[in-house]
Symmetry: none
Subunit: 280 residues, 2 copies
Amino acid sequence: MTIAELVADAVSRLTPAERRVADVVVADPQGVAFGTVAELATRSRTSGPTVVRFATKLGLQGFADLQAVAQTEIVDALRPATARIRERPPSDIVAQVLATDLDNVRATLEAVDGDAFRGAVSLLADRGRRVFVLAGEIARGAGIALGTQLDLVRAGVVVLGGSPARVARQIAELEPGDVVIVIEHRRYERWLLDVLARARGAGAEVVALTDRSLSPIATDARYVFVVAATGVGPFDSHTATMALVHALTAGVAARLRRSAAARLDAIEHSWSAGNELVDA
Amino acid sequence: MTIAELVADAVSRLTPAERRVADVVVADPQGVAFGTVAELATRSRTSGPTVVRFATKLGLQGFADLQAVAQTEIVDALRPATARIRERPPSDIVAQVLATDLDNVRATLEAVDGDAFRGAVSLLADRGRRVFVLAGEIARGAGIALGTQLDLVRAGVVVLGGSPARVARQIAELEPGDVVIVIEHRRYERWLLDVLARARGAGAEVVALTDRSLSPIATDARYVFVVAATGVGPFDSHTATMALVHALTAGVAARLRRSAAARLDAIEHSWSAGNELVDA
DNA sequence: TTGCCGCTGGATCGTCCGTTACAGCTTCTA
DNA sequence: TAGAAGCTGTAACGGACGATCCAGCGGCAA
């Protein structure tokens, strides 16, 4: 039962003063959810008792009940399409993924702070700094996508991975000012945290893509981007991570326009010389 | 300033009990907006004073301030998403990626044919068939994501890659009925087409994720999924590919529910035995 | 004009809230 | 091992809240 419906049912039994309360309530249910009796009384130019009587006329116990209804209404409205879809029998997985990932992408990119984005792009586009991509097992796909694309527009990109020994060797080359971009979700892999700590100790600038702002990954990171990763199955979704990678690489490419074009041309030339691509 | 941002800024200065409060607050900002100090204290297994101290550590006057921030956040969130998108300047790359990738995901998943999806899931969930993931340089990130997640729910998953010799050796093991899932966009890599032809010759069932229905990848494939890959920068977007991977793995996990759970438990057990994950 | 009835808001009550002071406890340090 | 510093919850306080009581007011019929 929404507030509007409750009011509509009771409106014929309301006194003039109560009707003024009803007007205010219907026009601004948020005022009921967050406000007090006194506030509502003032806004409707009535009094506390009138507001309480209005609530009881709707069939509720008192103002507290009315407030609870208003709050429930807001929570329902806030619940993303995801939650509503999830309540249905999971017969159509594709539809669920569609709703979930649209929410994920929207939430993730809307949460991106403009300054942080520009800052991260600047770091990644600075050819004086090398870039180390550090991703856990489950985020490795996104990490490799990022590494691959960055590598196409600038030199000095290293995707950390393989054996611990190999990672140690790779990280040993890190110099102060180099960038570590780390992608990892909760249940953080220990080796990854170790490598990250070592990199920080060596003076690396850290850019973090993670699923919670409170993650240990985000601690002391220069820039943090929180990724929405709600998954339909047993796993997190990495769709939003990929969208963020898309944004970052597009940003870097835009920043490096001239030199990136030259680099792409060179790569292109090398490919066609080897006849390694088919255009069909 | 959102609550998540405030918390992120202060998290390093928080005590353990305060951090428990932070977890609850970040996980459920609505609880702050509508709830009370006592409620938050109970839910975070702390006390009233700890909750208040937490609020002051965020730079606020007290809990009342924190609640006001939470309420503002809810009011903002209630405004339609389109209004928020339009607040960004059109030059903003993040906004462009948001619009583009939302379209990509929607177009891709809406174009998925139900029968093809069920058929592909059946193939991938058939533990009698091995699964070979074949992805080009550009799509390797998505391929690895698919391979990693499939590997968590079933055995016999191989991500083809590395040197041509290694791929040749891997593909030599392919038996009729095995599944090759290929992910590649236009300007197809020659070696990939070669491998694909060889696999088909060996009796593989082919599932293709590609950017055009007329692609050589799609020819003679058992099931084809066309991915929308419009990119903002110089590169294709792989966001929609990731969404499709999400759907496929969720489908396979649902189909293999029992055995997948057992396999996940075993993997989980192995992880925790090695103390390789950090939960914080 | 008088008496009645229902509408309305001021005044008051009890409760619960957020806040603060303080003491017990743990954990480092010398 | 003794001491100090910091973390944490209990207890108490002041204030604000919703609910209730009841007097005043206006409209209406006789």
